[in-house]
């Protein structure tokens, strides 16, 4: 059986994917896309977050075959034409990246939130990121980054007095 899906806008077709393989193993080991991180392996850290049809899931908890016929977006797929995605820009500018291990997952969770809710409150941002653990930063700068990215995605100018 062939597993066909769209990965970051490109069609992918794979033979011989075992029934029990996780989407995380498929991405990291079969496709060598190391932007998706393996932290806990059991749904608790969110480092492995990817978008499945635009919605964030933990790829470690998702069978690879669930991707069949669907659209998978990893952190590698966010930048367009050499331009960073507005959330990637805002995470950098807000200082929300230290070791960077949690960052791909954080950004994809944030993107999933913003596609549902383009103008979330800080509280809504925190709830949306509750499944993503960061061991380095306080969450303060991450929430700030999401707020900034949201404004950029809405096409608004940056706020002057960000805190």
């Amino acid at each position: 059986m062939t597993l066909d899906f769209t990965l970051n806008g490109q069609p992918v077709s794979l033979e011989g994917v075992p029934a029990a393989e996780s989407l995380l193993d498929l991405l990291r080991h079969r496709l060598d896309l190391k932007g998706t991180k393996e932290g806990c392996g059991v749904g608790e850290c969110g480092a492995c977050s990817v978008l499945l049809d635009g919605k964030v899931v933990d790829s470690c908890l998702t069978p690879a075959w669930k991707a069949a016929g669907r659209e998978v977006t990893t952190i590698e797929g966010l930048a367009r034409d050499g331009q960073l995605h507005p959330l990637q820009e805002s995470f950098l500018s807000a200082g929300a990246v230290q070791c960077g291990f949690c960052t791909p997952g954080m950004i994809l969770s944030a993107q999933s939130l913003l596609s549902d809710n383009p103008d979330p409150s800080d509280e809504e941002i925190k709830i949306a990121l509750a499944g993503n653990v960061c061991r380095c930063t306080g969450y303060h700068d991450i929430v700030l980054a999401v707020r900034r990215g949201a404004r950029a995605l809405r096409g608004e100018a940056p706020e002057a007095d960000e805190s």
């Binding site: 029934a19 029990a20 749904g43 977050s49 908890l61 069978p63 075959w65 669930k66 509750a130 499944g131």
Partner: protein, 285 residues
């Protein structure tokens, strides 16, 4: 070569299950057990049946004469669907307290029941709603109250060739107030140490109370329900009910010193949840 099949109709799914397929819905419990098995060097399943594309399992018909909740309905849908919020707010609340956005995105009510964890929040919620599981196999369909289906921690009476289609739920009386509370180890992504679901109809015509995570499986506390129905609504009654629930816990689980915290928590959280449900039914606090 192992196979992963995701049929879009029930007949095919039942036939695949009958070949000994492992079922997956969201995968949020199953993928963890498969990982564990792999780390222990045990074999991975040869045949996996994904039930999430079967129309019957995605049905959500809460306004029907006999409300039905399909097994493959996700916590995300339970949290966001306006009909759930209107008909069964306690279920919407329970769903909103499950795991993380990621877990709610794929985790299903049927997986919650089939996994049969004592701490299952969805199970606790629909137990209060009188859930009766609808099961399908090559032998046909059968119904079994959820409280009988789940027999012990992570144990149930699901046959090797059966799948859960969904759950029939009771209709609650007009104006019934509903509440759900959960005590976890931390705010997010926490497995419940205690969860309580309550529904109270105006004038105490009907009272439903289920408690999970501190019993082998979530259960209705019918003696406490009767005590409340026979009482005078108010703080004293909620306190009394909380104490009765705690006694019920020590009767079932025995008293160990490690349980002291639980006894106290059960009494307090039960009282608070009943008070909230009563207030939502329009009763004075």
């Amino acid at each position: 070569m192992s196979r992963y099949l995701a049929p879009d109709n029930l007949a095919e799914a039942v036939a695949i299950r009958a070949q000994g397929a492992r079922i997956v819905a969201g995968g949020t419990d199953l993928m963890i057990s498969l990982r564990q098995a792999r780390l222990e060097g045990q074999p991975q399943p040869e045949l996996i049946l994904d039930v999430t594309r079967i129309p019957e399992l995605n049905r959500l018909e809460l306004g029907a004469e006999r409300p039905f909740l399909g097994a493959a309905v996700t916590f995300r849908r339970l949290k966001t669907d306006p009909e759930v919020a209107r008909v069964y707010p306690l279920l919407a609340k329970a769903a909103s307290m499950v795991g993380s956005v990621q877990v709610r995105q794929t985790g299903t009510i049927g997986g919650n029941a089939a996994n049969s964890s004592p701490a299952a929040d969805g199970v606790s919620a629909i137990t209060a709603l009188g859930a009766v599981a609808l099961l399908a196999s090559p032998r046909g369909q059968r119904e079994l109250p959820l409280s009988e289906l789940i027999t012990a921690p992570n144990k149930n009476l699901l046959a090797a060739d059966e799948l859960i289609m969904g759950f029939w739920l009771d209709r609650l009386p007009d104006g019934a107030g509903q509440a759900f509370s959960k005590v976890g180890r931390r705010q997010a992504v926490a497995i419940a140490r205690l969860n309580v679901a309550a529904a109270i109809a105006p004038e105490l015509r009907e009272v439903r109370l289920s408690v999970g995570a501190c019993f082998p499986s979530p259960r209705r506390l019918t003696l406490v329900e009767e005590l409340v129905m026979a009482g005078q609504p108010g703080p004293e009654l909620w306190r009394q009910a909380g104490r009765a629930a705690a006694t019920n816990f020590t009767d079932v689980c025995g008293w160990r010193s490690s349980a002291a915290y639980k006894v106290e928590a059960i009494a307090r959280v039960t009282a608070r949840t009943l008070a909230t449900a009563w207030a939502k039914a329009g009763g004075a606090a």
